[in-house]
Chain length 196, copies 2
Amino acid sequence: MSAIEELIRLIKHLPGMGEKSATRLAYHLIRSDESYNKALGSAIASIKEKIHPCPICGCYTEDDICQYCADGQRDKTLLCIVEEPQDVLSIASSGAYNGLFHVLGGAISPLDGIGPDALSFPGLMKRIEEGTFRELIIATNPTEEGDTTALYIRHLLKDRDDITLTRLASGLPIGGDLGYADKLTLARSLRGRVRL
Amino acid sequence: MSAIEELIRLIKHLPGMGEKSATRLAYHLIRSDESYNKALGSAIASIKEKIHPCPICGCYTEDDICQYCADGQRDKTLLCIVEEPQDVLSIASSGAYNGLFHVLGGAISPLDGIGPDALSFPGLMKRIEEGTFRELIIATNPTEEGDTTALYIRHLLKDRDDITLTRLASGLPIGGDLGYADKLTLARSLRGRVRL
């Protein structure tokens, strides 16, 4: 197999890459700056060595504990619970949240064989018992799996009347158009942020 | 800048990659197999060292001359002229062509400041003078620039009555639907392969 064919074969394994787009990308790299290719290649090859999950919240970090858990300025009464590590970045970069995070590692999905045991609920419960949280914002995806996971967390915390459980509001995307919204989204947008 | 941010920044420089898709790809790589990341990273970093243009036709190769120029079994009376090196792969993998290739390195585009001097016409003329070609298949793109380039080649060869110039047929894509074809494509499809 030639070097180009091998490069195309490897690129095709990335999500969303078919034969055509992988070929286009490979030829783009041949025309690219050599120093850029070396930087990108080295960043890809070394990312897993540099990154590991934060032992407290589960988001990715290069340090002993992540920047959010280590930041004394963040609100320790607020905990935002997400499915995946990248969700932490999405919410943090919205600029509208200054509390702590907890990464579950997925959502409950019986059809995919993912039960509560596969997710980091023990770590979550330990943090809640030892912490000073007043509100848990359950920021799982607005899908059946995400909703199921939110309900499971409500079940786990049914005896903790001192902690408020909230869910991210679903509704119209900013810049969206009422005419293009599906009925479910529209119905949700009428209700706004829902107390569980 | 953290390792993830740096990886996202580098991925964003690839064509068709925005902030969201670069972030998704970076997090995918974090979850990927380490050996795959190392293979992909190394393939990207080393591609420009391994590959260079064939000194005869201009397509990319790892050898002194490319597999098509080196192949004694190919029809030396047929020359297919393309814009970019990747076009050689597209045409070769169609399985419908067994002649030689010539890569121009682009198409004539006065608006982009690309005149005939920027393309490999001297090499093309030298090959035609020294070669045994009976037909030149001008496989530049079916665009204004590609058509201009085809007309320029006809101009260069106006005294060579012994060589037939042809152009790839434009028309309906296989599996396409008449109802979805634009008028220009439909008009071209009525004419079929056009003699210049």
